[in-house]
């Protein structure tokens, strides 16, 4: 049985890293800031995977994004997932060629399903992570795409069924209402999963401290806990979080 994972997510836009709160972006710092506060070469041993998303609201510079990703992950011997605005095979290929072990897709799942099929055919299911953003509206869970701007006409549960048909490899499930709030994950969403849902689940949106990560990973349905909170895990925050999880008998990898 696969061990539980701690995933760190970096949000990037035109040369800088951002904190997102309910999908509104706040600039935190550039690569120097990141290196000074995180030093991935030494703390990568605390995380199981690194995700870097190009959240640019303007046209993207994929070459610059790749160069940044290569520098950030230079001494990380862990899986690297890259994504953000992938709409063509060429973009996907560029990311793979530049070190992406996995691709993360969001809007494309709804808007370009044929691209998703093609990527699964070329790179395999295990290479494709489906990112799904949702809001809790009254009592319903509603999917949004295009960086949380476009509401889809179907409920989360039905959308997740469709994703399984697309043969993606994993689900990265992010709650827009909790995003960047540091209030903890929206665990109620687990009840929305189809009964026989079999994709590995990466939970995102709301983790502000190590207790939130623990609460998430304690749920049997959750395989990985992600945080993109750049402020709350600075310095030795990630190693301390991992130690806390292991102390609380979360089944995690040892190195």
């Amino acid at each position: 049985m696969a061990k539980k994972r701690l995933v760190f997510t970096l949000l990037y836009q035109q040369g800088a890293f951002y904190l997102s709160r309910n999908f509104r972006l706040q600039r935190v710092g550039d690569l120097n800031w990141l290196n000074n506060n995180y030093r991935f070469s030494s703390i990568a041993t605390a995380i199981d995977e690194l995700v870097i998303l190009d959240v640019s609201r303007q046209p993207r510079d994929i070459e610059a994004f790749c160069a940044m990703a290569a520098e950030v992950s230079a001494n990380c011997f862990i899986p690297l997932t890259l994504g953000g605005g992938i709409t063509t095979l060429e973009q996907a290929e560029t990311l793979i060629r530049n070190g992406a072990d996995k691709l993360i897709l969001n809007t494309a799942l709804a808007s370009y399903p044929e691209l998703v099929h093609e990527l699964v055919r070329i790179y395999g299911s295990q290479c494709i992570v489906a990112s799904v953003d949702y809001r809790v509206e009254a009592d319903s869970f509603t999917v949004y795409v295009e960086q949380g701007q476009k509401r889809l006409d179907r409920p989360l549960a039905r959308y997740l069924d469709e994703l399984e048909d697309l043969q993606v490899g994993e689900l990265y499930l992010n709650c827009i209402d909790r995003d960047g709030t540091g209030q903890g994950y929206c665990l109620e969403v687990l009840e929305q999963l189809p009964p026989d849902f079999h994709l590995p689940l990466i939970m995102a949106g709301g983790a502000g401290n190590l207790h939130h990560l623990l609460a998430g990973l304690t749920c049997p349905q959750i395989d990985a806990a992600a945080t993109a909170n750049l402020f709350n895990f600075m310095g030795d925050g990630l190693p301390r979080a991992r130690a806390h999880l292991i102390e609380n008998v979360i089944y995690m990898a040892n190195w």
Binding site: M1, K3, D48, F77, K102, C127, G169
Partner: protein
């Protein structure tokens, strides 16, 4: 002496992490897909993501299948990683029956357990514990249970226990690593498995 490692390039996608890991270990690494230029190397690494059939088609169309088997017969060590390990087998049922390189007696097939009944997921993604076989060179210096990073939906079952260098469990026991003479393979990704992975790659460079 510096190891000269050729990463066999047949269009398999992301090679960066394996290049980085081997370079980190002090090896001189070249990515090479031209069979005529795959000579003079101390070690070969066969990476791989994607489907078995597509990979074998690309390997055959470049004439790399014959070359790899010749080099192995000459005694050049070969490490297959993930799909690269599966390609060492006689064949796979992925995407229809496809013949592999036939360097290891065994067949590749989808996990046979029922995900709904077991609660286990396919693909099998994440770090998981493997149990090395006694006397394995790849796992020299490791304990009885070691964590490595996996991401796969198909797995290798060997015809005999002999080449099995490590086993793992995900709904069923399956082959996590093989070694037989100069041929080695890992279902997991050593280049993405932190210190454990680097140590295994160092074993491959030093002991094969």
């Amino acid at each position: 002496m510096t190891n000269k490692v050729a990463i066999v390039d047949y269009g398999a996608g992301n090679l960066r992490s394996v290049i980085r890991a081997l370079t980190h270990l002090g090896a001189h690494v070249t990515v090479q897909g031209d069979p005529d230029r795959l000579r003079g190397y101390s070690h070969f690494v066969l990476p791989g993501v994607g489907s078995f059939r597509r990979a074998m088609d690309m390997i055959r169309s470049r004439g790399l299948d014959q070359l790899l088997c010749e080099r192995v017969a000459e005694g050049v060590p070969l490490l297959g990683i993930c799909l690269g390990m599966q390609l060492l087998a006689a064949g796979s049922s992925e995407d229809g029956e496809t013949q592999g390189l036939g360097l290891i007696a065994g067949e590749v097939d989808r996990f046979s357990f029922d995900p709904a009944a077991t609660g286990l997921k396919i693909p099998h993604v994440g770090f998981d514990a493997v149990t090395p076989a006694a006397g394995s060179l790849l796992f020299s210096g490791f304990g009885q249970e070691v964590d490595f990073y996996f991401t796969h939906s198909f797995r290798l079952l060997c015809a005999t226990q002999e080449p099995v260098a490590a086993e793992a469990w995900h709904g069923e026991f399956y082959v996590a690593a093989v070694e037989q003479g100069v041929v080695a393979g890992t279902q997991f990704h050593p280049e993405k498995s932190q210190a454990n992975g680097l140590k295994l790659l160092a074993n491959f460079l030093e002991r094969f």
